[in-house]
Amino acid sequence: MGAPQQDIHLNTKAKDQQTYDAIVIGSGISGGWAAKELCEKGLSTLLLERGRNVEHVKDYPTAFLNPWDFEHRLRITEKDKAENPIQSLAYDEGNKLFYVNDREHPYVQRHGAFNWFRGYQVGGRSLTWGRMCYRWSDLDFEANAKEGIGVDWPIRYKDIEPWYDYVEDFVGISGQPEGLPHLPDGQLLPPMEMNFLEKHFKEQVQKHFPGRCVTIGRVANLSRGWKGRGPCQYRNLCSRGCPFGGYFSSNSATLPAALATGNLTLRPFSIVAEILYDKDKKRATGVRIIDAMTHESREFYAKVIFLNASTIASTAILLQSKSPEFPDGLGNTNGLMGHFLMDHHLRVGAQGLYKGFMDEYYSGRRPNSLYIPRFRNLNAATARTDYLRGFAYQGSATREGWNEQSGMLPGFGPDFKNQLTAPGPWRMWMGSWGETLPYAENKIALSADKKDRWGLPVVEIDFSFQSNEQHMRKDSQQCAAEMLESSGFTDVSEFDYHAPGGTAVHEMGTMRMGHDPRTSLLNSQNQLHDVRNLFVTDGSCMTSSACQNPSLTYMALTARACDFAVGELKKGNI
């Protein structure tokens, strides 16, 4: 990893300052937004990041490397597998630098497997995210109340709609408006193209399955230049960091905007050990950090605190923040903190071969896939008796390259070489991302005895999918196969890899929003019910999981909560 950098204050005029207007914990996709919004509203803001600094462009050392520049040609090694059994499931030689080391950052999988993928650096996982951006609708916000699952969301689409508009305008998301009520169109930049077979597939699905919409993914890659960033160069190397600013990350977008205000102090290597609490004022007063390099403790103070350390980590910080008033963790008066952990279930679907269109090809590497929005349980006509909620597909068609062909082509020598290096047959895969219901027994807690190298308790995770998810998977698998078969694909095979929780990297819940402090942790403005100047706006706040990729919703909720927080500060309410 990068050279040790201690006590970096990117805003030099704020050096050694201990008191700020606001503290933001975590610099990933939601923390970056909190920092930008609070700074732009004039608050002096301290942004704490537990990992190293990653400066846009300068700290993307692999971004311009060719395949032959990598020692193992992007493959992971046996050493990777042994030392990083979890993270190496996700990284390759080109983006490994943006993943933590499992040995340095252990956690316990108590009941059921859970892959906890992490990137401890400035920008967090916004550097390596999948960039899919979809709005939620009232189908999602009303579902818990209608079905009596978990607790009701304290917000509806109308509450978040202007904030979707607001963040989309800054992020820059390319996509195709489709006019679907349950997947509202937003501020979309021009869509990326489909290829020949994908267009054929779209037409066939339209014909055979009215109500199933095949659209191009809505993705935070810039199909044209946007606010001094991009456009996307179609290299499809996003997860190494983009020197062109072709996709949205904290590093490329929100942090430069926050820094430009002169109000931001960014402090990497700052592990938040606890939130400090004043029992008389009933307010959080600041944070105690451990310097990751020196292991020294320091305190910082602020009027308002935004907790954006990511779903599991934010909750762990509050559980660590024990006081006589809150012996089970700050704000955890109802004992529900840590419960109702969710992740989308995925790696289920179908794939098939298409014989034909052998004169058709494409050029450029599109960092995006097709999207088939949810079409189950939308209304009475699409209602299922075997499960609640629904799923959406991602997928794409490509011609097989050398990598797909190598195991299939027999022989060797000149003919083999000729076939290997020619475009192979067309193949299409599609896999679903499905909603997972909130279950109390899917939870995180702090270990009673295991500590990390900074003396902080490690996280224990309990997680399993249940029958609603299993039934949905069967349906998704069959729907995928029937769409491929009806579109003329052959050799269609269904797959279900039973990926453990966490694999979607869409951890949600553990501090859900709700109306009632007895059954939820956060209110409709992402304020901790018990501590009004403490806001949590990362995935922890999610009351249900929907099936849309969730980052856009975190961003909108964050901008909304920042607006509210600053209003409350001005009114003297917090």
Partner: protein, 191 residues
């Protein structure tokens, strides 16, 4: 029978097979492989890689340095069982060339080299269908499979392979979904 059920049954069966593997077989798979032997076969691997991907109108695997790459991958990216299979396979192949043609592989004619490799393809379970996969889990990848996979990977990701035998576009700048293939057009090197 559903594929998944089949795989499950097969893996149960495979567990049984594993337990009943003779002591010698077990030892051969799990022993610490003598990776220094790979260096001894460096020239042989260069020759083998060139038989798999020879020079045509574009450079061959040997020129692309694929032999050395295979050694690196076997050392650092291959599980122990497959490493043992690979080293044993190289020994076999060297011995086979000697016994069949009375000379080392490197001195054999191109036709003889092709005959030798064809023999090892035939006996080396080259196809990695689900049967192959289940087998691999228990016994590691066979020599020929490892050899061919790494030769293909090494060649197609090498500079000569990617830029001369395939088409490599470092910065495409745009995506065009529908492009008519020109006669003889090569596949893209990267996706």
């Amino acid at each position: 029978m559903h594929r998944r059920t089949a795989v499950k049954r097969l893996s149960l069966l495979a567990g049984g097979v594993l337990l009943s593997l003779g002591g010698t077989k077990y030892y051969q798979l799990y022993k610490v492989p003598d990776l220094s032997l790979l260096d001894k076969y460096r020239a042989l691997l260069g020759g083998l890689s060139d038989t798999i991907i020879p020079a045509t109108d574009s450079p061959g695997a040997k020129e692309a340095g694929v032999g050395d790459f295979v050694i690196k991958m076997v050392r650092e990216c291959t599980d122990r069982k497959s490493q043992n299979n690979f080293i044993a396979g190289l020994k076999d192949l060297a011995g086979y060339a000697e016994s069949k043609y009375g000379k080392p592989y490197g001195q054999c004619t191109p036709e003889q080299r092709t005959m030798i490799l064809a023999h090892f393809e035939k006996t080396g379970k080259p196809f990695s269908g689900w049967m192959g996969k289940a087998d691999s889990k228990v016994e590691g990848d066979p020599f020929y499979v490892t050899l061919k996979n790494y030769v293909v990977l090494g060649y197609c990701t090498s500079k000569p392979g990617a830029t001369q035998a395939l088409r490599y576009d470092f910065i495409p700048g745009k995506y065009t979904g529908v492009v008519t293939l020109a006669p003889g057009q090569r596949a893209w090197a990267t996706e």
